[in-house]
Amino acid sequence: MSDFEINNRSINGLEIIELRGELDAHTAAQLETALQKLIALKNYKIIVNCHELEYISSAGLGVFMAYIEDVRSLGGDIKLSNMSPKVYNVFDLLGFPTLYDILNDEADAIEQFNIKT
């Protein structure tokens, strides 16, 4: 029933995960698997494009919390982009914008990775 989908792309050594639909305690498992796969394949520079993400609950936030430290200690990062205000608001209330790089556009996120390399 739950309407959630993940698409993967890569651009110059960066991995882009596109989220679509509603990320809740049910669909969070799919995101978890997608991140685990990338990390297992040693892809640590990850951009999560949230353009079509229509909803997120704290279960979805939890997935981002679980992998950020590992990914950063391996020289990568998880950067988030293209959030709708509704989705951003949940991240913001919990103080994520100070800890995570959240960019308006995917292009800005790509640029941030390139500055640091």
Binding site: E22, Y55, S58, A59, M65, I68, E69, V90, F96
Partner: protein
């Protein structure tokens, strides 16, 4: 002045039904004239509360049920959730420290904070064999529209 309107839904205690609860809540909130942003907030609060019941009160036993009632009266949207699982009272929850949780490899502790943030009032109680969560949100008084 019309009587209060009530709507109810009962779902099995499993996360695949969260999407149905959210749709139910959105429909009721729209009927109560909330702006789209507030409708999103109310959906999230009820989702978080149901997720907690599934995880903590019922420990993922999908044979259990969650009952959700929404009452719309003149000034308020009142939501009541009932479950028959492990009882609970959150007390005063402060803002979660995400940086600290990441360091400690914890990933939860955000749900109750969000529920309280988005609703005007939240109460947990226990009656006989049932746990009851009541939350309310004030209906909008739209500038110059009535």
């Amino acid at each position: 002045m019309a009587d209060a309107v009530k709507h109810t839904i009962t779902i099995p205690a499993s996360t695949e039904y969260l999407v149905q609860v959210r749709e139910f809540v959105a429909k009721c909130a729209r009927q109560a004239d909330f702006m789209e942003t507030d409708i999103g907030d109310i959906r999230l609060a009820v989702d978080e509360a149901c997720t907690n019941i599934i995880k903590h009160a019922y420990k993922y036993d999908r044979n259990q049920e969650i009952y959700v009632q929404i009452e719309i009266n003149k000034n308020w949207l009142n939501i009541t959730l009932l479950d028959s699982g492990i009882g609970f009272d959150p007390g005063n929850s402060k803002k979660p420290d995400i940086q600290e949780s990441i360091r400690q490899k914890k990933r939860g502790g955000m749900g109750i904070y969000l529920i309280k943030k988005f609703m005007n009032k939240v109460e947990y109680s226990h009656n006989g064999t049932m746990n009851e969560i009541r939350m309310k949100k004030m209906r909008p008084s739209i500038v110059s529209e009535d």
